[in-house]
């Protein structure tokens, strides 16, 4: 018997062993480092991995004869991109050339939010940060400093925080993104989906996308594999209230009524069980709670779901049939940004269950078993044990949250009677919290309660406008960074090295963290002399070196086990309470949640209001690219998709500028142009997230389009893990800002 749980343990042990011998091995090669490592400025091509989104494709940066950056292309050896970057990665050069970049450290003068800053030296700025951190640690404990991060700098600042004694480290990629999915899949299969997703799309015969708008969501490998699947004749079924690009490629598009997906999923489970279309052997051998599930869904017929979802019963049956025919090479895609309506963990549980009964987990064309090579940490003293964690801020709430909640840390900053200590200091690295967390008023209130707000960023984004100290990071094209690891069919490492010296007075996060450590008396945790030394040491532990990686960029390693797919002859133990795939979740039951999902209805837009739907535009990443000169050339503002019927009713012409007002009376700061299109339902409007910037220092994108985040004031929190459901907001149209209403 092979145990997926053992597998994880074994992997852990072997890495521990490597770390122990590490330091000695390093000493042996330290003096050879100099001549082995290359001077980046002399190369006409340097390896990198992309930082424009978190898919982290590995590529090559090419330079012009004058030594400046020419273009970035994918590294053909890299599994994340297969030699092809997405538009954002290709346009990554714009991050480097953007003349609006942060150029020097800045220290605020005047009151918070006043945007009055003076230029500072690095010493001044870092001293001020260290001073602030020390003061909070003395007065409230180091736990009262929190780190928000999204991106590679997080490794170094995270390390610093742990050394400092704070466990409060959160990324918006959990509670605002894929948290519910990870929780649901962990509860069901004992493992999460991870990133890059373990979906075996290239070999699938049926891909079911539930609001995953691949093609607009440009997560590279997935888009590429979807295209491969189309080539191989796979059936694509898209469930989306909007006619997404993926819907346009699909054999079946199910234009579902928003917020009703759970009913559709349950009725699919009903059909597949009642028709006997599930994978009987797989279910018998590997799952727990099948009879309870069968019982549970008995009344959840397609006819029942029809009334809720508006999807015709015969379509529900037909699509269920398609999935069953393809089984086990079928993927009910788990999605990624899944914090929609507050019952997201339950919806994702239904997705997991549907996959389980179709036998797709661990199967070719379904979900493969990924492998990761973890690099050992550079030797350092043990971290201090924190006295408090972010969990204590929410007694009894979100029991299944596996990682810290960015929204939770924000809430824990606003003083409350029930809490004896609130968070007092934030370090924000590579996340524009103002546009990233829902309910901006709440975020700003939290910020107003801080003693210290440090922002590490490359651009003068909204969050920097609230900072006490701004530390300008150089872009990913100008720095070394953590070697990329990450799960895939086979483990790979990818190197990022500077293609050019930093423009302006900017520094890498690794340098900043080490400098702060010095000032905080934590230099023992950053014992390496230079980042090159750190990386070289780590690489040497796994049989590579900095010099080798500078030459090849990406290195592929063999899998530790030959278990990309399950072997039908073997039986497996899953990392759940029963050792089985839990169709009935004991973990959910124990925590007081429905062990098998139930559909609950959600609020609908009041008359004259429309559900605010949002998503990705293929050429932009959130708010981080909206000022990128290359990418604004493709799309320089977001537009509001409005159904022609609605437009006609309101007399809205294509291209007309309108303001939005939501159910709580919040009005958009800027007008947004109407795109009158059949691609959106009459009960919703749609916009691409990441526009409507209100920081004037962003000269290209200031005031372009509208911010969806500003309109998301009502948040439906997932009780299971604290995810922030953001799709339950409704907007109406104004033809003039604030004053006059267009139609009553």
């Amino acid at each position: 018997m092979t145990s997926r749980r053992d597998f994880i343990k074994i992997a852990g042990v072997s890495l521990g062993g490597m770390t122990a011998g590490g330091k000695a091995a390093y000493q042996a090669m330290a003096n050879t480092l100099e001549k082995n490592s290359l001077d980046p400025t002399l190369l006409n091509r340097t390896p990198t991995y992309c930082e424009v989104c978190f898919w982290k494709c590995a590529g090559w940066v090419y330079k012009k004869p004058d030594g400046d950056i020419w273009k970035i292309t994918g590294n053909p050896d890299d599994y994340n991109c297969n030699g092809r970057f997405c538009p954002r990665g290709t346009g990554g050069v714009g991050m480097y050339y953007d003349e609006d970049r942060l150029q020097t450290p800045l220290i605020r003068e005047g009151k918070r939010g006043s945007q009055y800053y003076r230029k500072a030296t690095w010493d001044e700025a870092l001293d001020k940060v260290a001073e602030g951190m020390k003061k909070i640690a003395q007065e409230h404990g180091p736990e009262c400093v929190a780190l928000f991060n999204h991106g590679s700098g997080g490794t170094y600042f995270g390390h610093l925080m742990k050394a400092f004694g704070s466990p409060n480290i959160a990324a918006p990629s959990y509670a605002q993104c894929r948290g519910p999915r990870e929780v649901a899949f962990l509860a069901t299969f004992g493992e999460g989906v991870e990133s890059p997703e373990r979906t075996d799309i290239r070999d699938t015969r049926c891909l079911v996308l539930i609001g995953s708008h691949l093609g607009e969501n440009m997560h590279n490998g997935q888009v590429q594999e979807m295209s491969d699947a189309i080539d191989k004749g796979a059936t694509i079924i898209t469930v989306d209230p909007r006619f997404s690009t993926a819907a346009g490629k699909s054999k079946f598009w199910l234009p579902i009524k928003p917020a009703t997906d759970l009913a559709l999923l349950l009725s699919w489970i009903h059909v597949i069980i009642n028709e006997g279309w599930y994978d009987k052997d797989y279910v018998d051998k590997n799952t727990f709670g099948f009879d309870l599930l069968r019982e549970h869904v008995q009344n959840m017929t397609p006819e029942w779901a029809y009334g809720i979802t508006t999807i015709a019963p015969h379509i529900i049956r037909e699509t269920a049939r398609e999935m069953a025919n393809a089984s086990p090479a079928v993927i009910i895609h788990p999605g990624r940004h899944v914090t929609w309506y507050g019952d997201d963990s339950q919806r994702l549980r239904a997705v997991a269950i549907l996959n389980a009964i179709l036998g797709s987990w661990g199967r070719r064309g379904g979900y493969y078993n990924p492998d990761t090579l973890k690099l050992p940490e550079y030797p350092h003293p043990p971290f201090p044990t924190p006295q408090r964690t972010w969990r204590e801020a929410f007694p009894g709430k979100y029991p299944l949250a596996g990682l810290a909640l960015a929204s939770g840390l924000c809430d824990a900053t606003i003083p409350a009677l029930t809490r004896n200590c609130s968070i007092k200091g934030w370090i924000v690295d590579g996340t524009n919290l103002i546009e990233t967390l829902p309910n901006q008023k709440n975020t700003i209130e939290a910020i107003q309660n801080l003693d210290l707000l440090v922002v590490v960023d490359t651009m003068p984004m909204e969050i920097t406008g609230w900072a006490d100290v701004i530390l300008p990071e150089c872009t990913y094209l100008e720095r070394y960074d953590t070697v990329r690891t990450g799960p895939h069919r086979q483990p790979q490492l990818a190197l990022r090295m500077p293609a050019v010296a930093p423009r302006y007075d900017t520094k890498p996060a690794s340098w900043m963290a080490k400098e702060l450590a010095k000032r905080l008396g934590l230099e023992a945790y950053f014992a390496w002399e230079s980042i090159e030394e750190l990386i070289d040491w780590q690489l040497k532990q796994v049989g590579s070196s900095l010099a080798e990686m500078q030459r090849i960029g990406v290195k592929t390693f063999p899998r530790k086990y030959d278990d990309l797919y399950f072997n039908p002859a073997e039986s497996y133990e899953f990392n759940t309470s029963t050792g089985k795939i839990e169709l009935y979740s004991n973990e959910f039951a124990n925590a007081g949640f429905d062990p098998i999902p139930n559909y609950t209805p959600h609020e609908e837009p009041p008359p004259g209001f429309y559900r605010l739907n949002y998503g990705r535009g293929p050429a932009h990443t959130f708010s981080r690219t909206s000022n990128n000169p290359n990418l604004t050339d493709i799309m320089d503002e977001n537009v509001l998709w409005i159904n022609p019927k609605v437009a006609q009713e309101w007399g809205i012409k294509p291209g007309q500028e309108i303001w939005l007002k939501n159910q709580d009376g919040v009005v958009s700061q800027f007008p947004i142009k109407a795109r009158v299109t059949e691609r959106i339902r009459w009960d919703s409007v749609y916009m691409v997230h990441g526009f409507g910037h209100d920081d004037k220092r962003l000269t290209r994108c200031y005031g372009k389009g509208a911010s969806d985040t500003r309109m998301i004031t009502k948040v439906h929190i997932d009780p299971v893990m604290g995810g922030t459901g953001m799709r339950g907001n409704f907007v109406t149209f104004l033809f003039e800002p604030e004053t006059m209403e267009a139609k009553s």
Binding site: A619, D633, I634, M635, D636, P644, T677, E678
Partner: protein
């Protein structure tokens, strides 16, 4: 609903959102070219017919304007070029299929001819004019002797120039509004009409004025016929040409075209000329200026609207 969008945000200046590669320079160039062609045509015609003395303005006065017009036209063309330093490339290549090349070379011939005509007219204005240089004096004498041959040559090239001003557009298959063989004759006729109007303006001889009013009336009638014919052709053609015609039949160029070109530029002057021929006292400048105005407007509107008309795909 059918929705067609360029989603990569194309904004190539001056291609998007509608083509506007040619602004005032090219229509002005064509107007001046057409006008000069018209004047030279009449001058040459009456020399050939031996009616120099009947039409002193047409033969001996008006041509003095033509080199000015042609040089101004060439200047406008030059201003239009985006890569001016390479202007000379026009005259190191002869491309028979390229109307631009054609036009450049035609002007290369017509401009010297116009200079000759102007030189011969000079004494009309400055009776005591003296060329001073002996070879110039000899050349003038030679020209006067060869006037008939020069007139034939001028007649030929003035016609080519007049037609060319229309062909430049109609060679562009890509712009449905221009893609009609009627533009050649229409622009030629319009050029002749503006030429006639200019002669009328300059002439002090009532008989000459009357003849040119008659000629102009005829030309206007031909123009109106050609315009109607052109629209009938469009409407009987493919969807793209129907759409092109619609720019003038309810579309955004409707008012300017029918009011400025057809109304003020053709119908009103025609009416006034009829009145004048019927001995009603109409100051000649009015219809003549209207014709010139109509001629300019026609070129501008056809140039702009043509760029706005496109294939559907």
């Amino acid at each position: 609903m059918k929705e067609e969008l360029i989603i990569s945000g194309r904004m190539n200046d001056p291609i998007d959102p509608v083509l506007h590669i040619w602004s005032w320079e090219i229509p002005l160039y064509l107007f001046f070219g057409g006008l000069a062609a018209g004047i030279l045509f009449f001058a040459a015609l009456y020399v050939i017919q031996g009616k120099e003395n009947q039409f002193p303005t047409a033969v001996r006065k008006a041509p003095i304007l033509t080199p000015v017009l042609l040089i101004a036209g060439l200047l406008a063309l030059f201003i239009d070029l985006h890569h001016k330093a390479y202007f000379w490339q026009l005259y190191t290549n002869i491309k028979l299929q390229s109307p631009m090349s054609w036009g450049a070379w035609t002007l290369m011939v017509v401009t010297p001819l116009s200079l000759i005509w102007a030189a011969l007219s000079l004494k009309e204005f400055i009776p005591n004019w003296d060329w001073k240089l002996p070879w110039l004096i000899a050349f003038e004498a030679w020209c006067r002797k060869q006037l008939l041959s020069i007139a034939w040559l001028t007649l030929l090239f003035a016609s080519i120039l007049g037609i060319y001003t229309g062909i430049l557009f109609s060679a562009f298959n890509a712009r449905p509004l221009w893609n009609t063989s009627i533009l050649g004759p229409l622009f030629l006729t319009s050029g002749l009409s503006t030429g006639a109007a200019t002669i009328m303006l300059m002439s002090k001889d009532p008989a000459e004025r009357k003849t040119f009013a008659r000629i102009d009336l005829l030309l206007i009638a031909i123009e109106l016929f050609l315009i109607v014919h052109m629209f009938m052709g469009f409407m009987a053609s493919t969807q793209v040409q129907i759409d092109a015609a619609r720019l003038f039949l309810g579309g955004e160029y409707t008012a300017p075209f029918w009011v400025f070109v057809v109304g003020m530029g053709l119908v009103v002057p025609a009416f006034l000329e009829v009145l004048e021929l019927r001995k009603k006292h109409i100051p000649v400048v009015v219809p003549a200026l209207l014709v010139l105005f109509g001629g300019i407007m026609m070129r501008f509107i056809i140039a702009y609207a043509g760029q706005a008309s496109r294939w559907l795909y």
